[in-house]
Symmetry: C2
Subunit: 471 residues, 2 copies
């Protein structure tokens, strides 16, 4: 509960209409894209300027009130669930594209800009912003920065952090920090820009970002290769990279995913295949032609059962849209869908998919796997029912073992969703006690009172490690 | 002075031969590539393994002894000068390329590997490691990581930080931290990998790095365009980018540099030109041809006086070698050479060069400017004489004004050399008091006793800002 004086002070910063404590607003901001997590905030505030954010943080600091910054709340790690109450700060009013600088190939944007709209806007100018999380139709650039979002183009183009050149960010104290600039080279002190990207709203509130743009690829082509043996699909991924072709997109769907996606999208995916790959290359026409011909040949060599080249852009979009719909399609099966993002070196993709299947079987749970084969970022997705605590417990145990397996294969617990509250009990598995201590030290340097998104990233207790049976 | 017990303990870690306190060793490690800076260490140690580094750091921690990690000492910011005494830890024995992973396109290396040798090695395997600081023939990968080195290919390919995927690093306490992995996507907690890159040996000692490799470009072509008007050269840079061509290299040399480089390299550079651009594109043959034709056309449009395409690879190498020799060539002129790296958005290159010339004139000092026009990273280089204190003072004042001008144009005080001791008094100008405080907090989180490369990056006193005359 916020006291009346705080309420009045916050209202005087943003105006009565933009600080809400009505139940409707509180409930609407009590959850995000993450299943089985809900917590009511004490208030919801909608700032319009960096100065307002700064004033809000001064009040929050003075009264030690938790502040959870939120874009569209599409994250899957509980990152924007206000588990400690306090204020949810919604960035939707700060949604301007401030500048597209054609000489420096940069965009300066506010955090509330919708990613998909931004991408469309820069593409109309002949430019390209590669990070394309599946949520991009609703997610915001600010949210993408908080989570360091990836997407389907990560292999060739990298993720959000590769496109953030500078930030304006408000510290918990209310001070305004400016990092980087329209510069590809800047080594003035520690790289606070890259540190803030992926810091999940725990260090500062980003109020403006300078983003790097690249020339828009002149053309792209898309194919789908279908395999009766998942190792054939995995070998294809490795062979493509080994031949030094870096496709723009290289997605894998396992059999379980193929079934549900086709039920949903009805585009005639082959239900008898163990895996399919969706492969896209973009760039200069000759190079795309040559790469796709080489990839076709590799797919044949690795015993793809069928290979189909999209004949039109519409056909290609249909394929990619089907892939992007995997989460939605799976979500139709049962009441609760848990989408994870265990990530391994790309050479370990097949091992990881098969290991995941074995773990699912062991715990008698339904897990379909799809994801970004080219960069090793898989999405094992469990369909379950939150009301069945016993089953949910088995799902959680299965995921713990999946994370352990990913780490054992040289991977990580999260490739692009973030730690938030969901992965916090596992973070130490990846970064060790030394890593946790350093990260806590960094958190304290930015936020000594622990008011920004508290109780995220660092768990009260690390989950006990699963004993993996090797071999 | 190290006490006898410490000396014995350090010797027992690395063996008698690898811990030295003789004058020869101390003097040889009392300076680096930075002019006018020298300070004797108390000892020089040469570890061979991560475990040894860990044990050394435990001793250093216990006795609160400064440790300065050093590769080849080619840095230009005083980064490896042991200004607080203590131990210089030389990483040359840890010089193995541990693995090249052709499936994941990664290299795992120790920090003492020489950058140029590493580049040659991976190119022989058909792969490519783009960061190419001019010092690469002697600099080490570890040093490049410490400074986040750039080079001539930064515009198209980025800098060292874009190629570091994972690190093994020893904390001041002796604990071993592992970050990242063979992963392009990893958001498990704060990005400590990118934070350590460019941290100038102040946070941890890097003992192993996983580097990203990319396919080697199939071909490259090089041209030189010469201008009687430096704005023509600058407009060319802008026009190239505006037409969405991103060349591999886009270097500028001003008239003063042209003169000395040609005196040195004798390749017939045009001494009457105000500026030349050296432009290189690499990639697929058709694309390189097309880009170079477009660039040629742009150079013509922007009134280049002469444009020459290198006819052979040797001719091209000669041009690039001449460019890389600019520092050496300038160093022949007078006893002391101060090479800086003020960096601006690429659209401000011409303004910055002209501003630099005006400042040099104002302070009556000799400053030649060359550098990476494509990414705005300029190298204004003063030739002076350390024995003439009055002149050196004028040079310092001129550089202070150059840094101020760079910041006023949206740039930074250092694009690729680092802060070290030389830029420390100016760091606050770029990052503000809030930035300095946060960085100090990060330093304290890693190194609470301040033993790793102490008295670097953070100055006792920030230099008073110069009043810039605008207009």
């Amino acid at each position: 509960m916020l006291n009346e004086s705080v309420v009045q002070q916050l209202k005087s910063i943003v105006g009565d209409a933009y600080f809400r404590i009505d139940q409707e607003a509180l409930i609407a901001h009590s959850y995000d894209g993450t299943p089985m997590l809900q917590a009511l905030p004490d208030g919801v505030i909608y700032p319009e300027t960096t100065e307002q954010v700064s004033e809000i943080m001064r009040i929050a600091s003075q009264y030690v009130i938790p502040v959870v910054t939120r874009g569209s709340g599409s994250n899957l790690c509980g990152g924007t669930t206000p588990v400690s109450g306090g204020i949810v700060m919604v960035m939707h009013r700060m949604n301007r594209i401030i500048e597209i600088d054609m000489e420096n190939l940069t965009a300066t944007v506010q955090p509330g800009v919708i990613t998909g709209e931004f991408i469309t806007h820069v593409e109309e100018l002949g430019l390209f912003y590669p990070p394309d999380p599946s949520s991009m139709k609703i997610s915001t650039i600010g949210g993408n920065i908080a989570e360091c979002s990836g997407g389907l183009r990560g292999l060739k183009y990298g993720t959000t952090k590769d496109y953030v050149l500078g930030l304006t960010a408000v510290l918990p104290s209310g001070e305004v920090l400016k990092t980087g600039g329209k510069l590809t080279k800047d080594v003035a002190g520690y790289d606070l820009t890259k540190l803030l990207v992926g810091s999940e709203g725990t260090l500062a509130v980003v109020t403006e970002a300078i983003l790097k743009l690249v020339p828009k690829p002149k053309t792209k082509k898309t194919m789908v290769a279908m395999y009766k043996d998942i190792y054939g699909a995995a070998r294809t991924v490795s062979s493509i990279i080994k031949q030094q072709i870096i496709p723009a997109t290289l997605e894998i769907l396992d059999n379980a995913t193929i079934q549900v996606v086709d039920d949903f999208a009805k585009i005639g995916l082959p239900r008898d295949m163990e895996a399919i790959l969706i492969i896209e290359q973009d760039g200069e026409p000759e190079v795309v032609e040559r790469d796709m011909a080489s990839i076709y040949h590799i797919c044949e060599q690795e015993q793809a059962d069928r290979i189909e080249m999209a004949q039109t852009r519409e056909q290609a979009e249909q394929l990619l849209t089907a892939r992007r719909s995997a989460f939605t399609a799976l979500a139709r099966l049962r009441p609760t869908t848990i989408l994870e993002d265990a990530t391994v070196p790309r050479s370990k993709i097949a091992d990881m998919v098969l290991k995941t299947n074995a773990i699912a079987k062991k715990y008698n749970v339904s897990i379909a796997t799809f994801g970004h084969a080219g960069d090793g970022n898989l999405h094992p997705t469990a369909t379950t029912d939150a009301r069945d605590q016993e089953e949910v417990h088995r799902v959680e145990e299965a995921f713990a073992e999946i994370f352990e397996a990913a780490i054992a294969l040289g991977g990580t617990i999260t490739g692009e969703h973030g730690v938030g509250i969901v992965k916090a009990p596992y973070l130490e598995w990846k970064v060790g006690t030394a890593g946790i201590e350093i990260m806590k030290g960094i958190k304290a340097a930015f936020d000594p009172q622990n008011i920004l998104n508290p109780n995220k990233m660092f768990a009260k207790e690390t989950k006990k490690r699963v004993v993996i049976q090797h071999g």
